[in-house]
Symmetry: C2
Subunit: 298 residues, 2 copies
């Protein structure tokens, strides 16, 4: 196992241990709701957002232990968005990470509520963390990043635009509009929130913002390429489902070779934006390589 | 018009003006999403939660202008919960306040997203308010009250328990469990958050907590009585719909006369808990009388 793989595994384990503690099976919650939340939250996944947040905090010399709850909150928000996106009224997906989606197992009503609960508990966790933070203003700034990225100007706006675009022939501007918001906003918020909690200087924050923007787009392009190329055994989703539904994707508007080229250029831009950082930014470098590499062999 | 009615009208107008400003029709949001949010958020309603929050702040001598964003956030959370509760997978209601429900007008997908957006923007607003607050710790405590009340231990837990109870013969313990969470938690949070922002002393907070607990239960009992008795022209909902679906309600388990008696007793307890407050608590007294009075003629 490479040093980077070991780093990722260790961080993922930290995040997953913390996440499980936030949703214990206890009598104060209705049991079935907790089961539904845990089913989606603790079912694996790359944990790329919290790991990014921790890595960005580390890159500016911050305390990653204090940043952990922010990463967990971000993962809760991500988990809620997947549950709601999979619903029949949205993307209507029956399979996620090789498992039946939440509403298939628990029913639509409970799936909606599990998503609502994850979103609400994420902000409760952020609020408690800010109240306990040595510098509440710094914590509140990070919270604001996360809330704005998750909201109508960010992730939810992207999903609404995606819904509106379905069935129409996608163009590049629409695809970028959707992806910058639907996926990019939360990836960028992970990087920026981690940097803010870590006490980043203004120039460092600017460079990491550039890194986060490029990575967010690269991440989505890679995801689109994987969906178009890889079988279900790799993605855990039904193969080529985006294409069947005329979803707005980069391969659909650029073609596969140009989409891969675009992802590689974005990787170079990620690396360039980290040029002035020392070895503490190596995890950020490794994450960018990993994100692009899983879809475009180097 | 009575002095109390004039007070309520003035506070409602303050809240509605502020709410409309938080969701302008602007290009940064996808247009249809904003329309869907505004349709539910700005379609009337009693605004009882924000008015309560302002009144509790006033009762302890606090600055209600600074409390206004907290009240608005609470109303956004309330509006999101109504949109999601009305969905076909939940209560499946086609009519709310005499108008078609959100998913009837905008479709289920957008209705789910409009709810998600309202919840997220509520926390974004709270975060910005806390960052600008003269005492961030006080603001964070109020935020925590609201988040916990809205979450799996509060409102969402109540809705999950309500879903689970549907179709089964309800008993009093189940009905209380559901209502204390589903409606009571947010009413109590309105009172406590308003008191906290207003700088309530510990004894004042304790008394207002008692007031909020009794009011929350009285509010739901009154709502149940209205649903059982009043025609659609008054409630804006289909008459007797709770009974048809064997929903867990107080009239169903206690009978109407005992439910009314219970509401009147709770009103007395509200008044008793405000005994040591001066005229600044008159709006809280008026709200309690109004809440019970609309279902039980004095």
């Amino acid at each position: 196992m490479s040093e980077f793989d070991a780093y990722i595994d260790a961080q993922r384990a930290r995040v997953e241990t913390a996440l499980a503690e936030y949703f214990p099976l206890e009598p104060a919650h209705p049991h079935r709701l907790t089961e539904s939340v845990r089913y989606s939250l603790l079912s694996g996944g790359k944990r790329i957002r919290p790991i990014l947040l921790l890595a960005a905090c580390e890159a500016v010399g911050g305390d990653t232990q204090g940043a952990l709850p922010y990463g967990c909150a971000l993962e809760m928000i991500h988990a809620y968005s997947l549950i709601h996106d999979d619903l029949p009224a949205m993307d209507d997906d029956a399979l996620r990470r090789g498992q039946p989606t939440n509403h298939i197992v628990f029913g639509e009503g409970l799936a909606i509520l599990a998503g609502d609960a994850l979103l609400t508990e994420a902000f409760d966790l952020l609020t408690r963390s800010a109240a306990a933070a040595p510098q509440p203003q710094r914590a509140l700034r990070a919270m604001h990043e996360i809330a704005t990225a998750a909201g109508a100007r960010g992730m939810i706006g992207g999903q609404a635009a995606d819904l509106a675009a379905e069935g129409r022939a996608p163009d590049l501007a629409t695809v970028e509009f959707i992806h910058v918001r639907k996926t990019g906003a939360l990836i960028l918020a992970a990087v920026r929130a981690g940097a803010l909690i870590g006490g980043a200087s203004a120039p460092a924050l600017r460079r990491l913002t550039r890194y986060g923007e490029c990575l967010g787009l690269a991440f989505q392009i890679a995801d689109d390429i994987l969906d178009a190329e890889a079988p279900t055994s790799v993605t855990g989703k039904e193969q080529g489902r985006d294409g069947v539904r005329h979803k707005a994707t980069f391969p659909a508007v650029l073609g596969l070779p140009a989409a891969k080229q675009r992802a590689r250029e974005l990787l170079e831009q990620c690396m360039e934006s980290l040029r002035r950082f020392d070895g503490a930014a190596d995890p950020l470098r490794g994450i960018a390589r990993y994100v692009v590499g899983r879809a475009c062999a180097p």
